[in-house]
Amino acid sequence: MSEQKIDGFELKPGFKGMASDTGSDQTMFKGVHWGKAMMWIFLLSDTFVFSCFLISYMKGRGSTIVDWPNTSEVFSLYVGGVPVPLLLIAIMTFVLITSSGTMALAVKYGYEKNRKMCGWLILATAVGGLTFVGMQVFEWSKLIHEGVRPWGNPFGASQFGSFFFMITGFHGFHVSIGVIFLFIYTYKVFAGHYESKKRGWFTKMKGDYVEIEILGLYWHFVDLVWVFIFAFFYLW
């Protein structure tokens, strides 16, 4: 962004730069695509959604009268008869963080107009996301088999199941939406819509590789939220 030239405007670094950008006409974030600015602000709003969920969870967990289940037991997998705490979650987290890496590379290749590489990397990201959701389905069904329900569970406070299914469900919903869009954009990139300036199906607008970066922002955000859910739910 720093090499960008804007006619009649000098991009200054630091606080001075921020002040002059804010005081200028036309745009506040110089050279930032509308869609990109929109995604950042949407993510800020979404951060508040997840914060409300997690703060409610902390309050709920802090004020139950029944003990909270021991998470390292509840979330452990048995490998050869030995319980390994957090095994599945570790794999899930690894897959999701890796998919963030492939997403970042897809953005890079997209801006380099390397259409094939970009497409394959978005596809890899989508597959990673799908794997994550699949493992989450596995985790949910395992817990449901063990008797964990939104309204109660055999291990302790009934709020455990409530918050667990609600928050991981809401996060999983975000991942699923992301996966759907990743597949759509895989198609768009491979079909060369950005080169041919084909108009969108619904919006009737022309696209650009910046859309890959916008999708990437969303994807990194979903990963970041997972890190917090991981810390607050599985490690606490």
């Binding site: 009649g8 006409d25 509308w34």
Partner: protein
Amino acid sequence: MSDEYNNNKSYQAQSSEVMDGSTGSVNPDIDYVRPAEVGEQDLYHGHSFIEKWVFCQDAKVIGVQYFLTAVFTGIVGLILSWLMRLQLGFPELAGFMTAEHYYQFVTMHGMIMVVYFLTALFLGGFGNYLIPLMVGARDMVFPYVNMLSFWMFFVAVAVLMASFFVPGGPTGAGWTLYPPQTILEGTPGSGMGILLMLISLSLFVIGFTMGGLNYMITILQARTRGMTLMRMPLTVWGIFTATVLAMLAFPALLVSAIMMTLDKVLQTSFFMPTILKAGEVLEYGGGSPILFQHLFWFFGHPEVYIVALPAFGIVSDLISVHARKNIFGYRMMVWAIVGIGGLSFFVWAHHMYVSGMNPWFGFFFATTTLIIAVPTAMKVYNWILTLWRGNIRINTVMLWCLGFIVTFVNGGITGIFLGNVSVDVPLSDTYFVIAHFHMVMGIAPLMVIMGAVYHWFPLVAGKMLHEGLGKWHFWITFLGAYSIYFPMHYLGFIGVPRRYFEMYDSPYMTSAVGMNEFISIAAFIVGAAQFILVFNIIKTLKTGKKAEQNPWKANSLEWYTSTVPPEHGNFGERLPVVHRWPYDFSVPGAKDDFIPQTTAPSEVIHTEVEKT
């Protein structure tokens, strides 16, 4: 006039931001405005009737759609308030009404007026119509998402209205929807009613988020050449800050709605404590009802300012235009709006003084609440100083503005009462609270809406509303509103509780009955008076006189479109270039008493002042 003009010195009319008059020579670059950073917006013009008027992507049409839908829900809310007043004033005439009906009407009236009427009207209606025009954009930056935003709102309204027709009727838990009673049997509408309410609120939040992103990005990233943030009309500042608040406050509403839906549908216990009902322990247990109150008011208090800040902004512009004077302390006004917006996130628990919080919390929230009075008072002083020695035109618009200032001060002062814990505790849940918030966030913003309708109707429809009818409308509403809410303060002081279906044999019975009858009669009249406006609009559309372009001689860009009413794309071939703020009224030495934002400095510099 006064001494300043006696020294025969010639004054120069200059843009407020170009002040290099020391040499007196015309700077050749004085009209320079940086070239456009962003290319022309790619607009999709609708082809069929459906694309032009139903699923339309033009922000102006979407604004009108929002406006009409919100007004429809507002009329439903008005009818509900009539039914409530009928029961309170003349219970013998309201034999058809049970206590359950009354609670349902109270609840639906509150929710409709706050969320589906005022919020949607200011942000969806005025926001959509005015933002692109005022900042000099061709349209909102994401027209398709904007269209979805309206239709999501429309579905939310449809779901809300559907709750009137489901078994058990709409929810009767009060607009605050406090658990646990909201979803327990015995509360009216605790079955389908509350479920539809929660779904409707969630849809509203989703729809609003789509609209809100549009408003914010259009203001931040799509202003025209020369339109700096500090040259934006205060209307845009108010709507912008309110949108920021909404984007950060609505998440709390969404989360609380989701959690309560789960409590209702899946028997979770997020908000539900252990409950004994007729000797039996219910399945719920271990949840926290106070958590809901915190989440709800973390949304609910910023919501007050989501309604108030656009009103502050709009009224500033109306006062400035109709007093022919620049707004006093423009920057102070901007920072006051931003400051109020910021502070509004730190005051929510002043709605919860009687909920059993730690008393130190009350102390903290009382302090932050009273601090809000500072920027708010600054704004009131600035409105009055704008009027001071202005060339005031007492037309309908100005009347509504003056009505707003008075009403807002009134409601604001009772707010200082209620912000203090020790005063609030005895007044809590009485009619004093009802009077306070109806004055400050009901009547006051409504007056601005009315003023704004009379002000911008010539732009939207190209015809002037009838002034005489407008004045009748104003005076009946103004005097009537005070007849309704002034006595309510007194009812609160003698301890009449809010939300009660009837007063039984209470000690204040005798003095309250006559007053309730008086308030009810006033409420019927004020409600009916609103249909003067409906009549006025219909009559004007049919036979009204055609408005000239810019009938109020305003400076801001929405009056300088290529056609009136503006077409899709707003400004014709070329976007306007802005050289000044929108408040250059009555500038000494200028040819007219207004200088449009598009007037270049070289066109007005060095014009001599006529000697007075």
